[in-house]
């Protein structure tokens, strides 16, 4: 158990090795290094997990200090890792899925240039993600938080020669900075409030003996902290209103989308909320907001996914939607349910992306599902594994997704959040519909491929197929351990809510029905009567366009934020009005007012006397301030 601190360090070693000398190594060596360090981390995680299971629940809490990071007066932050049930589950998940995707990547990225660079970034990402998960204080968590963001940006823009890719990278970075702004403020406010950033010390103050009472009904400091941190979560986990970067992030290599933008990084926000559950439990106002934002995002993103045509974008909106479920669960107090869905989602969404990657690889990077169809007979392995993931995400009974989704709905209803439960059910129908639409259009029906693509469609090599199969098994059967998981997490997430209410059997049925409805509809529209789809699109012209353009949110943000900022910088501080206009305004009979505004515009005219004027203006300003105030 003591060696668990190596888990985040090992991938860092891999990053350094590949980053520094990878250029000179053969590709095999690069791949082995990258995969082996992750495999070693996986082994250590498994060992740590096993070791935790052996000790009684109240002892499942190990801290490994590395060194004192910062110490100045009251301000102390240690570089130390925390091993408890929550971090153990997360580490196991991250390293497990991470290893499979590393292996898959070897085959997927083999042909391209910069092989070593890709794996160096990927290792760095693993290291940052594990740091985020293992951190024992908010500041260290923020380091991991920023680190994964940076890697995500590097990997989105990996194909930097594509303008769309580098633009998407920038967008991801900038949007995430907005979220991080909230996160950092939250950390600072937490420090101001608790005088510490250590999780345990904070929780102690939040506990029954601490001085903080629950802020039910009023919005106090605790609520502000929780709210600011949640802003960070909406950025990283792509929730409304900061979700806009994730669909664009699909410009990155597909395994990256699978690992970072589906299975792990984007769930960091959920992890953070669950990690800080004592805080969120005391702030029902913010928890309600978390649940509302989550379920709204789930529904909203699902509606957009209904009409998209790009296979990866559909999956991206589906990711946004599923993470919305996780937030909804966390918001209604179902922290264990949230982590449960997080893990099942990691399996099936990683699998969906890897499957999509396999399809794209076979079709030379075609992503438009309207130009696929009938691939079932060419790609049997991909077909069957993709089907496993699709039934799981659609919540077909007895698959992993069914159990986790059902659990979330049960939590919502039993805690009295009926509206959230109902919207959740509706979203489940939509999910089943758009996922099977994707599935049918890709693998069934007539072949709509461009003729030049029809030749040379072939299954991926074993290094890619094996991860697909393993993930398929997890997607199908990964949901059976929930009872155990809930008990295991109890020291962190607290007592589970009063056991499932009397309606839970009915809910199981409802969940199953919802998924069945969606699948049936998709079958009718896209397999049985393909003409219906076109007719529906015709009939719903306006609504369809609204969804197709994703509610025009990108355009709206451009109008609201990007353009004004540009205009301010272009016109106010820049060159501004050109010299003639200023001179003309001043030379003529212009009044004093225009004189002054002329000055404002020509802050950087290059004239020394204008600069002296600014200095003098500042002097007069300060003197006036003191005159008035002093």
């Amino acid at each position: 158990m003591d060696s668990f601190w190596l888990i985040p360090i090992l991938p860092l070693v891999g990053f350094l090795a590949n980053g520094l000398v990878g250029k000179r190594l053969p590709k095999q060596a690069v791949a082995w290094i990258a995969c082996l360090v992750v495999a070693a981390s996986l082994l250590l995680s498994a060992r740590a997990f096993y070791a935790l299971m052996q000790v009684p629940p109240e002892e499942r809490h190990v801290i490994h200090p590395l060194f004192t990071w910062v110490e100045s007066g009251d301000f102390v932050a240690r570089f130390e890792f925390l091993l408890d049930p929550l971090s153990a589950v997360m580490m196991l998940l991250v390293t497990g899925v991470g290893l499979l995707i590393h292996v898959y990547s070897v085959g997927y990225m083999w042909a391209g240039e910069g092989f070593y660079r890709y794996f160096a970034y990927l290792n760095l990402f693993m290291s940052s993600m594990l740091l985020l998960v293992a951190a024992n204080n908010l500041l260290l968590m923020f380091v991991g938080w920023e680190g994964v963001g940076l890697c995500s940006y590097l990997l989105i823009g990996y194909w930097y020669f594509k303008k769309s890719a580098s633009d998407a990278g920038k967008k991801a970075f900038v949007v995430n900075r907005v979220g991080d702004f909230g996160f950092l403020l939250g950390i600072l406010l937490a420090f101001l409030t608790f005088q510490t950033l250590d999780f345990q010390a904070i929780f102690q103050q939040l506990g029954p003996e601490g001085e903080f009472a629950a802020e039910s009904g009023k919005w106090g400091t605790l609520s502000w902290i929780a709210f600011l941190l949640f802003i960070g979560a909406t950025g990283k986990s792509a929730q409304v209103p900061l979700y806009v970067w994730l669909p664009d992030a699909m410009e990155g290599p597909t395994p990256v989308s699978a690992l970072i933008h589906a299975a792990t990084m984007v769930t960091a926000g959920v992890y953070m909320v669950v990690r800080l559950n004592p805080l969120y439990s005391l702030t029902p106002g913010v928890s309600g907001l978390v649940a509302t934002v989550g379920i709204f995002t789930a529904f909203y993103a699902a509606t957009i996914a209904l009409v998209q045509r790009d296979i990866k974008r559909i999956l991206a909106y589906s990711t946004i939607s599923q993470i919305g479920y996780m937030f909804a669960a966390a918001g209604v107090g179902g922290y264990a349910a949230s982590i449960f869905h997080l893990s099942t989602h990691a399996y099936f969404k990683a699998l969906l992306f890897l499957g999509a990657g396999s399809v794209m690889r076979a079709l030379q990077n075609e992503t438009d599902i309207l130009r696929m169809g009938g691939l079932r007979k060419y790609l049997p392995v991909t077909y069957w594994t993709f089907l496993a993931a699709t039934v799981a995400i659609s919540g077909v009974p007895l698959t992993s997704g069914f159990f986790s989704k059902d659990e979330i709905l049960v939590r919502s209803f039993s805690s009295g959040h009926t509206v959230i439960g109902i919207v959740g059910l509706a979203t489940a129908v939509l999910t089943a519909f758009y996922m099977f639409r994707l599935f049918f259009l890709t693998f069934h029906g007539e072949q709509r491929l461009a003729p030049e693509l029809r030749r040379g469609i072939h299954e991926p090599p074993p290094s890619m197929a094996v991860p697909l199969v393993l993930l398929a098994l997890l997607s199908l059967f990964g949901g059976y351990g929930y009872g155990y998981l809930e008990g295991f997490l109890e020291p962190v997430t607290g007592e589970p809510l009063p056991a499932r209410g009397e309606h839970s059997e009915a809910l199981v049925l409802l969940t199953a029905v919802a998924s069945g409805l969606g699948i049936l509809a998709a079958y009718l529209f896209y397999v049985r009567n393909p003409t219906w789809a076109a007719a529906a699109q015709q009939a719903l012209g306006g609504a369809h366009r609204l969804l197709w353009r994703k509610y025009y949110v990108d355009e709206l943000y451009d109008r609201l934020f990007v353009h004004p900022l540009k205009r301010v910088s272009d016109h106010f501080l820049w060159r501004g009005v050109d010299e003639r206009v200023v001179d003309g305004a001043v030379n003529g009979t212009a009044g004093l007012v225009r004189d002054l505004s002329g000055f404002l515009r020509q802050m950087q005219t290059g004239y020394a006397r204008a600069y002296a004027t600014w200095i003098l203006l500042g002097t007069v300003g300060i003197l006036v301030y003191y005159w008035m105030g002093g």
């Binding site: 910062v70 007066g73 940076l150 500042g618």
Partner: protein, 479 residues
């Protein structure tokens, strides 16, 4: 006759000044192709001065009639200044040769400016501080115009000089009022008189004019207007020096004046500096967004960073000043580093300073661009770099003293700043290179400076305790 003529207390400054004089004396006996040796002599002198400073660390004493104070604070800044000057000389050696202005005056002036900066941090008397400041100013006027056949360098020097002289006059007028009110220029006497009389009108005038004078030196808005033009036109190593050395010296003296001489007016200067900090950050960052010349961009970035440093001053607590000291070091490391890359890449005649000249060179010059990326990430404030820790300390200090609004604006600003720093990285790694990527060689001394700056940036981010401890111990001398 003062009885405290402790020359040992100013030994490091004596060494730097004497080295400067020695360089000028040896100049006629040095063949033009060997002028570099005089630069190395300067480095040796600075190292010796640093050692002399180290020998005195831990001691506290005043000397020369209570004009200069040897304490951990002055030792801290001495090391910073000596380091900055060594870095400047290292990156200048090749540059001066390349630009055909290899005169030993350059090294001598850097050393004299270092002497002046040292005195700015160590003086506890307004008049000594003023003379130190002027020594720095006059040396740097000349350095800015050192490429005297280059019209851009001329223009840079002209603007710097005229505006510098202007702000000097304002500062001096302020000192006159403080002297008039208190009958002394010594910080402790001024503080005594202030606590006895309260903030009268003359104190207010004096403070206001003092803030303007220092505002010019450290480039606070709206007194920053000279920075972009002067930084753009000056020879790049000089720009690096200007952005780092005199600015840090300005902060060193400003902190000392405000805390030692005018502590009882802290609400007066705190309020104004709070407003100025907001203005400075915002103007610097917003203006940097559309710059296309990298020197200009870094100039605005240095304005913005002056704003962050002010946040620590406004916090008015121990962590705040420690953070200012900490960030001054980190800021020096990352800026010297970034400018070193600019110096190397700009090529003969500094022709490659446009952002588009950096297009696609990322994988051709992995060492240069890797270092530059690191410095830029640190300027953004990405964790694991010194820039991040520095900002955390600054903002935490302000939060501790309940300046939450200020911190919100500061954090928002640093979020905005990510955009333009990132643009450079994007251009380097993600754009098509120009038709032919020019080849540059990386001179060894500059490479050494680059590696040291990069290591420092990383080290201060990964293990900030050591430096922060040093900074917080140094602060005790001021408070």
């Amino acid at each position: 006759m003062p009885t405290d003529l402790h020359y040992l207390a100013i030994l490091p400054e004596i060494i730097t000044a004497a080295t400067g004089i020695a360089i000028m004396l040896l100049d006629p006996f040095t063949a033009p192709q060997h002028k570099g040796r005089l630069g190395w002599l300067g480095v040796a002198g600075l190292l010796a001065a640093g050692v002399a400073g180290a020998a005195q660390s831990g001691r506290t004493m005043t000397a020369f009639g209570g004009m200069v104070q040897l304490d951990s604070y002055s030792v801290f800044f001495r090391w910073l200044f000596f380091g900055v000057s060594i870095g400047t000389i290292l990156i200048s050696l090749q540059y001066l040769k390349r630009e055909g202005v290899h005169h030993s005056e350059f090294y001598a002036l850097v050393l004299f400016a270092t002497t002046g900066m040292s005195f700015m941090a160590a003086s506890v008397d307004l008049i000594l501080m003023f003379i130190g400041l002027e020594t720095v100013a006059i040396s740097t006027y000349v350095l800015a115009g050192f490429k005297r056949s280059d019209p851009r360098s001329n223009e840079s020097a002209v603007k710097y000089f005229i505006l510098g002289a202007f702000s000097t006059a304002v500062l001096l007028y302020g000192i006159a009022f403080l002297y008039g009110q208190t009958g002394s220029t010594r910080f402790d006497r001024v503080a005594e008189a202030l606590s006895a009389q309260g903030p009268s009108a003359f104190f207010l005038v004096g403070l206001a004019l003092l803030l303007v004078g220092f505002g010019f030196k450290v480039a606070m808005a709206p007194f920053h207007v000279w920075t972009p033009d002067v930084y753009e036109g000056a020879p790049s190593p000089v720009t690096a020096f200007l952005a780092v050395g005199p600015k840090a010296a300005g902060f060193a003296a400003l902190v000392r004046v405000l805390y030692s001489a005018l502590p009882d007016m802290e609400n007066h200067w705190g309020d104004v500096l709070g407003l100025v900090a907001v203005l400075t950050m915002t103007v610097g960052n917003v203006a940097a967004i559309t710059q296309s010349n990298i020197k200009r961009l870094l100039a605005y970035s240095s304005v913005a960073h002056a704003g962050y440093l002010l946040v620590g001053l406004v916090a008015r607590n121990e962590l705040g000043i420690s953070a200012v000291l900490y960030y001054a070091v980190v800021y020096a490391l990352m800026n010297l580093g970034a400018f070193t890359v600019v110096v190397i890449w700009s090529g003969a005649g500094e022709t490659r300073v446009h952002l588009s000249d950096y297009a696609g060179i990322g994988f051709r010059y992995p060492f240069l661009t890797g270092c530059l990326s690191l410095f830029l990430l640190s300027l953004i404030g990405i964790p694991a770099t010194g820039g991040f820790m520095g900002k955390v300390f600054l903002f935490a200090a302000a939060v501790q003293s309940h300046h939450v609004g200020l911190v919100v604006i500061a954090v928002l600003n640093s979020a905005v700043s990510a955009y333009y720093y990132l643009r450079i990285i994007v251009i380097m790694y993600m754009q098509e290179p120009a038709a032919q990527v020019p080849s540059v060689e990386i001179p060894v001394p500059a490479a050494v400076a680059l590696v040291l700056a990069a290591l420092g940036t990383l080290l201060t981010g990964l293990y900030p305790s050591a430096l922060l401890d040093l900074a917080s111990r140094s602060v005790l001398a001021v408070r």
